[in-house]
Amino acid sequence: MATVDETKSRLLRGVVQDNIDVLQNVKARRLNRRKRSVHPWILAGLLLALGAYVIQPALLVSTAPTPAGSSVALATGAVTPTDIDLTPELSAPLTNPRPIDRAAIPLAIKRIVIDPGHGGEPGAMSESGVAEKEITLDVALRLRRLMAHDPYEVLLTRETDRLMSLDKRVNFANQRKADLFVSIHANWMEPKTIRALETYYIGPTDDPATLKLASMENKGSGYSLSDYKQILEKIYVDARHDESRALAKSIQTKLFRSLKLVNPVLENRGVKTAPFVVLIGTQMPAILVEIACLSNEDEVKLLTKEDYRENIALALVQGIRSYAASLNAPNRKGS
């Protein structure tokens, strides 16, 4: 059993390390501001490493039997292009490829696009006259302020009350090569007693209520739901799909945990899949979060309070940060 002094000394090491981490984060960000370009030698090294990675996992993920001649080279790890015996079994298309382990490619988030839903047109409207477009923009602006000193660039698809089509929102994120896309919306549900939170990522749904919601949010896109089938079939095998789910879970958890304390009757409807246009078209992990129910007047009263909207923004920030931190966690499960 550790003595009090030993425990204190362990705790102090934790305090000091924690503070050094804060300090180094400041320095890292200052450096990033000064110089964003990558040195050619580092780039070359990264390309070589990536090349080696592409070759090696191609062998490792194979479900086909390994030819006897190549087993020595694999066991020693000394694999060079000339050592690889590209027998028909190995070069054949993989019928059941294993997912790539995320830990093999350390990823970082640099740019986040926040999409305040609607604008110009009001979106959902409460009986007391609170419009979805106002709430989503207010929360998005708060979120950007709260992340102002984070090591990410946060961009908003709109900063004023203006009409913006769904494909323009998608293009905005794709053209800027965003690493994450978070679309903020407020719900309208029957019966009006419901107060619920839910977060969506791309995927099919058989739930009539979700289909109805997707149809409403996709209004003006020019497509019908059936048009998406082909696109969706390609997306479901995409790694982006798993990352979007992880991001959705992180945001839903933080949001519910935070808001439940001040809104005790709030219901956690969890993470769901749905074919929203903004989730289909974006090329990065993307989610759509329904932060409140404008159909419930008690909730609308809460939404009119600055504190409550600040809490929502804080919880979204925590969700994004938690997801970003998990990308570099050593024991993170592969996607």
């Binding site: 009090v4 705790l11 305090v15 924690d18 000193h149 001040v262």
Partner: protein, 343 residues
């Protein structure tokens, strides 16, 4: 380079409502976290100072641009004036602790500052920047952790530090607490004030009172559970001093934070390893100004009955528990550690 004669350790609890300092020279002080600047030449002539801090600022508030620069235990963001106000509070604390900050013989200050348990990295960075020129080296720690360290409640303990801006929770399990071991709630003293203001306004719409009167009433008569006596206060109604019975409003407002506090405590307890949950449940430590609400510990114990019971105690000195704990950390840290964290 300035000559330094002496090295002093300080522990600071930078609170939304009050801030305290405990220094290794034996000084301990608490100030109201208010800062005010005279609004014009006349005011400056009357108050005879360029800046006022604490009670001094509150008492002269009609002549000042008064700021309460902390929100939920951290600096308000985006306002240079508030950042300046935080610096003034920190300078004032160092000054009242008798520490020489300028000139020949300037004291070298090693400061440990308590921040809310879940304070965001950005807030901690802001605070570090604000400390430049005030301390030579700085460590930031979570407030409940500082309390636990000071009390040597390092193993199987749950510290709940309830201040004005936040209620901070930390489970101590003999190791440096992770994010999972800590929580911060916005339901604390300020939310009681808001609730109390709303309830009294509803019941006595013609009564006039300020937020400062509300805070004074709460500090004097707050309670949960059964009242020991009626709470009767005086406030002007149409200009005439009138007695108002606010017993029910006081109880409702104070009890409004009970449910989130108990829920969070139970949630944290449920994450402790099963064989230790009983020990932690029987070692709940309450600190911070809001923990002084009469009957608070008893009601928390009562709420734990359905989970097998528990024991909650209020620390002997809730106002200084955070700064004393921070001072203990400052003293125990080695010079090498302090060097790494110099500003």
């Amino acid at each position: 380079m300035e000559e330094t004669n002496e090295t002093l350790c300080v522990g600071i609890d930078l609170g939304t409502s009050r801030s305290s300092i405990s220094a290794s020279n034996g000084q301990r002080h608490v100030v109201d976290s208010y800062v005010g600047w005279p609004v014009d030449m006349v005011a400056r002539k009357l108050v005879k100072k360029t800046v006022l801090v604490g009670r001094d600022a509150l008492d002269n508030r009609s002549m000042l641009d008064l700021r309460r620069p902390l929100e939920r235990g951290v600096m308000k963001e985006g306002s240079e004036k508030d950042q300046e106000a935080v610096q003034e509070i920190l300078r004032h604390l160092i000054d009242v602790a008798g520490i020489k900050q300028k000139g020949k013989g300037k004291t070298k200050v090693r400061a440990v500052v308590g921040v809310p348990a879940e304070a965001f990295r950005v807030s901690r960075q802001n605070l570090r920047n604000t400390m430049e020129g005030i301390a030579d080296s700085v460590m930031l720690v979570s407030e409940p952790f500082a309390v636990a360290y000071g009390l040597e409640a390092l193993l199987h303990a749950l510290v709940i530090d309830i201040g004005a801006g936040t209620a901070d929770f930390c489970v101590m399990q003999g190791r440096y607490p992770t994010e999972e071991d800590q929580r911060t709630l916005p339901n604390a003293g300020d939310s009681i004030d808001e609730q109390l203001t709303k309830l009294i306004s509803e019941r006595h719409p013609e009564a006039q009172f300020s937020i400062h009167m509300i805070r004074e009433w709460k500090e004097r008569w707050s309670f949960v559970g059964e009242p020991k006596s009626r709470v009767v206060v005086s406030a002007p109604v149409k200009g005439k001093p009138t007695e108002l019975d606010i017993t029910d409003e006081m109880r409702t407002a104070c009890e409004s934070i009970l449910s989130p506090v108990c829920e969070t405590a139970v949630d944290l307890l449920s994450k402790v390893e099963p064989e230790f949950q009983d020990k932690v449940r029987n070692n709940i430590i309450l600190a911070g100004g809001t923990s002084l609400i009469s009957g608070f510990a008893e009601v928390i114990q009562k709420s734990l009955m359905e989970f097998g019971g528990g024991r909650a105690v209020v620390v002997k000195d809730p106002v200084f528990a955070g700064s004393d704990g921070s001072l203990a950390i400052a003293r125990d840290a080695s010079s090498a550690d302090w060097e790494k964290l110099s500003l």
